[in-house]
Symmetry: C2
Subunit: 197 residues, 2 copies
């Protein structure tokens, strides 16, 4: 997506006009002017995606602009951006959307007394917060980054299959090991910023 | 789990002692006395699980006890409890643990420049908050509720497979439909309480 977007945009710029890709890793599941906040970018990462043909002065100006919003600027190749964002953002969105739909199916097809709002706690609510994101926007992101997203969903399917297999087989020690690993990785996230995306 | 637990506990109670199962839908991903809070149960649901042989007076006392902590008490058959908690709590935990492990695999095996803490925003953090939960406790929960958990993971795998198929096939309108459904279900959750579990 950033890869294609940057290539196409660079190709159509008139002489003297420079294109520099940038992606602030900040946002909310809600959209629109009323949801705006002047603190949204503060402490958040912003990925700037220069290529070999990016004008150095234009790059500096764009980096400065994002720094002035309070962002921490990272620079990255646009194709690498798509792989990394696929992992840290697009896959979690797929996971959250699919989880809501799976639970709705369970309720509709086999467990009519399941009342998701009434029976759930903060765990389900946090895990699926981003499933309330814009369907139009996420449809486009999934399609633009299709290759990476599909391959990442497959990795996730493998991890789920492994955990399911261990539970089915009653492999207590290996289940605990898998959960320990996940917990360790999750705790390392707390070192980063805490801005919604 | 509650099903088996309640049956076994009722069977071993001495004369004049009554067992009543209860499950407060409140908790944190952190454990230990230092993490305690006198507001933990306030506004949270507590599921009390009587059976045909539950003593009515004992049931009333247990319900009162939980109401005094500020909980909203629901009563439910213990086997139904296991199906419902499997859906609203155990499956989201599986989803979060597996997501962390899948991302760690992606980083370790194909994308070494992926830095989960540095590149992620609040989306990944919220989606995986409960992956920091106790591995010992969740190992046991998954095994005690094995039948329901395995069947729920399979529903989730189906929902993921469907979404992956639509993305792979470029089915824009159907992707949007699937995301709309998830968003609608997620927004209905906001009507409930917002206590961690």
């Amino acid at each position: 997506m950033k890869g294609t977007l940057v290539e196409r945009s660079e190709a159509v710029m008139p002489a003297g006009v420079h294109f520099v890709g940038a992606h602030p890793i900040a946002g909310k599941e809600k959209t629109g002017v009323a949801e705006g906040s002047d603190l949204l970018f503060k402490g958040a990462r912003c990925i700037v995606t220069p290529t070999k043909s990016t004008d150095p002065q234009a790059l500096e100006r764009i980096k400065q602009l994002w720094e002035e919003t309070g962002s921490i600027v990272l620079t990255m190749d646009p194709h690498l951006h798509d792989q990394i964002l696929g992992a840290v953002s697009h896959l979690p969105h797929v996971a959250a959307f699919a989880l809501m739909n799976a639970l709705a199916d369970v309720r509709d097809r086999q467990l009519p007394s399941l009342d998701l709002a009434r029976h759930s706690g903060g765990g389900l609510r946090d895990t699926t917060r981003i499933a309330a994101s814009s369907p139009e926007m996420w449809r486009d992101i999934f399609l633009w980054n299709r290759g990476n997203v599909v391959s990442l969903i497959e990795k996730y399917q493998q991890a789920l299959e492994e955990l399911k297999h261990l539970i089915k087989a009653g492999e207590a020690a290996k289940i605990e090991q898998a959960l320990e690993r996940a917990k360790g990785e999750r705790e390392k996230l707390n070192a980063g910023s805490a801005v919604a995306v």
